[in-house]
Amino acid sequence: MMAVFGGRRRDDNPALPPGQYLTESFPVLSAGPTPSIDTQDWEFFIHTEAAHTHQWTWDQFIALPSEDITADIHCVTSWSKLGAGWRGVALDTLFAGVETGFDFVMAHSYGGYTTNLPLEDLLNGRAWIAYEYDGGEIDPEHGGPARLLVPHLYFWKSAKWIRGLVMQSGDKPGFWEENGYNLHGDPWREERYA
C-alpha cells in the first residue's frame, strides 16, 4: 500500500475560511530579522496629506482607552488560529482627531516592512494597535512591543513592530503585495495572490 502524505488536518469548522487548516501553535513568519525596540524610543504616527503628523509616545499610547479583543487569525500560508486574545487601542480611537481625504493607508514597521490597506478596513471596530497577547506583553518575534491587528484580513496585513501609518491617495502595494500577494487579502474570498 502506498503511504499517503496527509498534509494538515482539514476540519469542517465553520470558523475556518476556505483552504485553511487549524493550528494550536503560533507560527512565526517574518520577512526579516526581529528588531529590538525599547518602549522608551517607541513612537507611533499617522501622517496625512496635509503634512500633519499625529504622534504618540509609548506612555501617551498606553494611556489611551484600550479594549480586549478575541479574534481568529488566518495566515495566507494556510494555518488559522482560533480565539486568540489580545489587548490594544482601536484605530477608531487613534483616527479620532485625524482629518484626511485619502482612502488608503500604508502601514510602516520598524525594520522597514510595509503593507497597504484601505482605510475602511481599519475603522469601525475592525482593527487595533495591539500591545498585549494572551494576557502578557507581545513577544518581539510576534511583533512586540506593538503590532497592527486586522483579524478580518490575512495576517500579513497585521504588521508586526508597527511604527506608523501614512495616508495615500491610491492603493499602492506594500512589501508582499509588490511581490505577488493580493492588494486586499480577505481570507473568506481567498484573496491570496494578485
Partner: protein, 241 residues
C-alpha cells in the same frame, strides 16, 4: 555532471535504513537525475490528496553520476514533512524532487584549498557526500571534519566516518552526553574548541559549516574572531519546520 534540470522529477524509495532512533537514510531512484556534486541539496515536494503541497530542502549524502540519491532525514518533533519521510514512507512510494541545487555549498575534488568541515547534528549530511568524494578521488588536499552532536547515539554514519579507509579524519564533539571514558566533558563548542580542533587561519582553509541556525551563527562568528576571512566560510543553515 550536475546539469540542472528545470522540472520536478519523480523519485521512488529504493532503500531505507535507520541511522538513529529518530533518523533514517532514504535512497530514491530518480529516473533523469543528472548526478550531483558533494554538498548539493534537493527540494522535495509532497502533495496531499486534497492538493495541499509542501516543499522542503534536504542535503544529499550521496555524490556522483548515478540516478540514485541518498538523503538522511532527522525527525523533527513538530515537523510536517520529516515525520512522514522517517516513519511513513515505504519502499516504492514516490515523491517529487528538483535538483541538484545550490552550487555555493558544494566541494569539488579539483579545489585546491584545505577544507575544514563543521557539522551540528544532522548538518553532517552534505559532509558525508564530501568525505565520500574526497576518499574516492584519492585527493591529497587536507580535509577534516568536526562533528558536534548531543550524544553518541545521535551520530549519523559513525562507522563510515571512522573506518580506516576514510581520508578525512573526524573529530567528535558532544554537547550533552559523552561516551564512557571520554576525556572531555560535554558542552557546546567554544572558541577554544574551535581553535584547537580546526585548521588554523594561517593555512587559509575553506570552511563549510552546516547545522541549525544558532549553531551556524555561533561557529561562524567564532571562526571570524579567530582570524578566518568571512569569504572563506560557507554556511548552510536549516530552519526546522
Amino acid at each position: 555532471m550536475s546539469r540542472r534540470t528545470n522540472a520536478w522529477l519523480t523519485g521512488s524509495l529504493a532503500r531505507a535504513h535507520p541511522l538513529t532512533a529518530s533518523a533514517r537514510s532514504i535512497t530514491f531512484a530518480v529516473p533523469g537525475w543528472p548526478g550531483n556534486d558533494p554538498g548539493h541539496h534537493v527540494d522535495v515536494r509532497l502533495t496531499a490528496p486534497d492538493g495541499y503541497q509542501v516543499v522542503r530542502s534536504y542535503s544529499i549524502a550521496s555524490t556522483g553520476t548515478g540516478e540514485e540519491i541518498e538523503l538522511a532525514i532527522d525527525r523533527l518533533p513538530d515537523g510536517e514533512v520529516s515525520p512522514f519521510l522517517v516513519d511513513d514512507l515505504e519502499l516504492g512510494d514516490t515523491v517529487e524532487l528538483r535538483g541538484p541545487l545550490g552550487g555555493w555549498f558544494v566541494w569539488r575534488p579539483e579545489q585546491t584549498q584545505p577544507v575544514q568541515l563543521i557539522a551540528g547534528g544532522s548538518g553532517v549530511v552534505p559532509f558525508i557526500a564530501m568525505t565520500r568524494a574526497h576518499a574516492s578521488a584519492g585527493n591529497s588536499i587536507p580535509m577534516q571534519l568536526l562533528y558536534s552532536l548531543r550524544a553518541p547515539c545521535d551520530a549519523f554514519f559513525r562507522d563510515e566516518l571512522s573506518q580506516p579507509s576514510a581520508t578525512a579524519p573526524t573529530t567528535w564533539h558532544y554537547t550533552r552526553t559523552v561516551p564512557p571514558g571520554w576525556s572531555r566533558s560535554a558542552g557546546r563548542l567554544t572558541v577554544k574548541d574551535l581553535k584547537s580542533e580546526t585548521l588554523p587561519p594561517e593555512q587559509v582553509p575553506l570552511t563549510y559549516i552546516c547545522g541549525p541556525t544558532g549553531f551556524v551563527e555561533t561557529v561562524s562568528r567564532a571562526l571570524i574572531s579567530l582570524g578566518h576571512a568571512a569569504d572563506n566560510i560557507r554556511t548552510e543553515r536549516f530552519g526546522g519546520i
